[in-house]
């Protein structure tokens, strides 16, 4: 089981337990680093955050406001305890996300604002924007003022970092688990009773089977789909390029985002099988009835880790930065992880989750992106201009 510890005023980390340090702190292995801090047994975070945040805000404002005033203000804030940290401005966070997270973030935003104000902070307004991950990254590059990005894969955030400089290059090391608070995988959604008898990836290249998957150029989920199919071919001694090429010849329509593809399959009735995010497939069952569709779990799939990052260059105030950092860090809290599990994401901390939400996930072999050499290699080679996808699609 994972342990969650507090490593900063608003930052939580998770990892496997290594040892107890004796002073109430424990050391954990968070995947990329060993971290130590106080375990978060009780999901309620410490009350100090609000006061410290307030003090920091007041202190950083000091040179601008004149010494005495700031000192009085800081003193007043400390004396008053957890009072609104930044009442001077209403803080707004714009979360630019990918397609299938709509329902999760709608609930998480409510959870976060309740927690954040309970800490004695001024209420924040959280706005959402959803679309294909590639298209959303493009919009941020073109000037969409995202405070945080929560996209489908790290290559999209890398693009923003590279092209705008608004995110530091090492963004993935700023949060635990390579900045991916939850994971998912790719499964098949078929019509009730599985009339085409689809059981694994090789059934998708059969003559006459129509496969629905979005466009890898604009959709992050589509890129995971592509790589999962590639991994299957690779594991089974098939020529991956030929196999994936045959699969895409069975795709009648490429939507721009995962949700568009789901709608094409479920509401418009096009296609025999939908390559879907696991969470998206579960959601379709929940929304449209278990008697309309079946989930088919292939023998091998990919571990999809959708990462999150602050867009540092778009931060306009310290209060906004504090809120946005807390917004991302709180994704790792046990209650947020439980919420992610309820929304069918493979979150890591199961301590507060309902057992049913955890038991639901099927066991299957998951290939990681590291086997492909990481997104920095995969993105240009497979999905860049003239890359393998372009070559396959031209054939």
């Amino acid at each position: 089981m994972y342990h969650t510890i507090q490593i900063g005023a608003h930052t939580l980390a998770q990892g496997t337990f290594i040892r107890s340090l004796g002073d109430g702190r424990i050391e954990i292995d968070a995947g990329h680093a060993r971290l130590s801090g106080r375990p978060v047994a009780d999901p309620k975070p410490p009350a100090a955050g609000g006061v410290l945040g307030a003090l920091r805000t007041a202190l950083t404002a000091a040179p601008l406001r004149g010494g005495i005033l700031a000192a009085v203000a800081a003193l007043g804030l400390v004396m008053a305890g957890p009072t609104p940290a930044a009442a001077q401005d209403s803080v707004e966070i714009l979360n630019v996300s990918y397609d299938p997270t709509r329902e999760f973030y709608r609930d998480y935003n409510a959870l976060f604002t309740a927690w954040w104000t309970a800490q004695g902070n001024a209420p924040v307004t959280i706005r959402q924007s959803h679309g294909g991950a590639g298209a959303q990254a493009r919009a941020v590059i073109d000037g969409l003022a995202a405070t945080v990005v929560t996209l489908a894969l790290s290559a999209d955030i890398d693009q923003i970092a590279e092209r705008t400089g608004r995110i530091p290059a090492d963004w993935q090391s700023r949060l635990p688990h390579n900045a991916a608070p939850y994971a998912s995988t790719i499964v098949f959604l078929v019509r009730e009773g599985n009339p085409r008898g689809i059981a694994d990836w090789d059934d998708l290249v059969a003559e006459g089977v129509q496969v629905i998957t979005p466009n890898p150029k604009t959709s992050g989920g589509a890129r995971w789909n592509f790589l999962a199919a590639w991994a299957y071919a690779d594991r089974n001694g098939l020529d991956p390029r030929e196999f994936v090429g045959a699969l895409y010849r069975n795709v009648p329509v490429l939507d721009t985002g995962a949700r568009g593809a789901t709608t094409t399959f479920t509401q418009r009735g096009i296609g025999h099988v939908l390559l879907a995010w696991e969470n998206e497939a579960f959601l379709a069952l929940a929304e449209l009835g278990e008697d309309a569709f079946d989930i088919v779990v292939p023998s091998v799939s990919i571990l999809a880790e959708p990462p999150v990052s602050l867009v540092d260059g778009n931060i306009t105030s310290d209060a906004q930065r504090a809120a946005a950092e807390a917004y991302l860090a709180h994704l790792y809290s046990p209650e947020a992880q439980a919420l992610a599990l309820r929304h069918h994401y493979r979150a890591r901390d199961t301590s507060l989750a309902a057992p049913d939400d955890v038991a639901r996930f099927p066991e299957l072999e998951l290939v990681t992106i590291a086997e492909f050499g990481g997104w920095s290699v995969v993105q240009p080679a497979f999905f860049g201009d003239g890359g393998i996808f372009d070559q396959i699609y031209e054939e």
Binding site: G131, D142, G143, R259
Partner: protein, 287 residues
């Protein structure tokens, strides 16, 4: 204009009744299938959970924000385009100048350019990757992914409507009345207000109604520049798509029904105008 009114009653047709019935039946079936059925579906889907479902859907904060956004955009874009349309039509119909043909072609440009392309050009022009966009962002002025960008996109796609309605009417009426006013010593502004504008008011109103309908219904151009921020830059058509994609079918179709009602209201107003002022319209132009 090609109003060739028959001078005396002639037999309307010599076709046998069966052919007539078939043709009329075909036309009615076509209209019913492709125009009426979708409209009925919109309202039926909206009312799937009864009137209370519609009210609940329309009181969602996102839905209300989208309605407010669309009305705001129409309230800004339509008057601006009315002013532009009148100015352009006045210039084109009443004066001769070099480049007139080019101006007429330019006014028609939005009809031939795809709305998505129009939206993308705005993003290229005012986005963070252009010199202008970078300067605007540095000065904290937001054009794309904010209200100004959506208004610009709407202005672009609704550009031709008012001018296109006014130009033929103004040309048809000629310059004689204005010239008469001029010889009587009226200044330009007065000529415009007392002669030109009253002569063309119905065409103007018609153009404004069309322009308004398009401004409220535009999807493509607006979707590109809106950034899809819920409750902030989402308009009614983009919000309809979002609701639909979130399995909120009743909310999607309730909002779509409001849009359809607005469109029907526009049509009703137009028909009312035509009916009440049939003689006046006939004197100027028939639609």
């Amino acid at each position: 204009m090609s109003d060739i009114a028959p001078t005396r009653p002639v037999p309307v047709t010599t076709e046998p009744p069966l052919v007539r019935a078939l043709l009329i039946g075909l036309a009615v079936a076509f209209v019913a299938l492709f125009l009426f059925a979708p409209l009925v579906t919109v309202f039926a889907e909206a009312l799937a959970e009864g009137g209370r479902g519609v009210i609940a859907a329309l009181s969602l904060p996102d839905a209300r924000a989208a309605i407010a956004m669309t009305l705001t955009i129409a309230a800004i874009a339509v008057p601006l385009n009315a002013v532009f349309g009148i100015a352009a039509a006045w210039a084109i119909a009443k004066f001769d100048f070099r480049g007139k043909a080019v101006l007429i072609t330019l006014i028609d440009l939005p009809f031939s350019v795809s709305p998505v392309v129009a939206g993308l050009t705005l993003v290229l022009l005012f986005g963070a990757n252009s010199a202008l966009g970078a300067w605007l962002m540095a000065n904290d002025i937001r054009i794309v992914f904010a209200l100004p960008g959506i208004v610009l996109a709407t202005l672009f796609v609704t550009f031709p409507f008012v001018a296109r309605e006014l130009i033929p009417v103004m040309i048809e009426q000629g310059r004689a009345e204005e010239e008469a006013a001029l010889t009587l010593g009226a200044p330009g502004w007065r000529i415009f207000l007392t002669v030109t504008l009253p002569n063309t008011r119905w065409a103007l109103l018609y153009g404004v109604l069309l322009s308004n309908a398009r401004a409220m219904g535009e999807f493509g151009a607006v979707a590109v520049v809106s950034g899809k921020i819920r409750g902030e830059t989402a308009t009614m058509p983009t919000m309809v798509e979002m609701f639909y994609n979130e399995y909120l079918s009743v909310a999607a179709f309730s909002l779509a029904a409001v849009l359809a009602l607005l469109a029907l209201l526009t049509l009703l107003l137009k028909s009312l105008l035509e009916w009440r002022h049939a003689d006046l319209l006939a004197a100027t132009r028939r639609h």
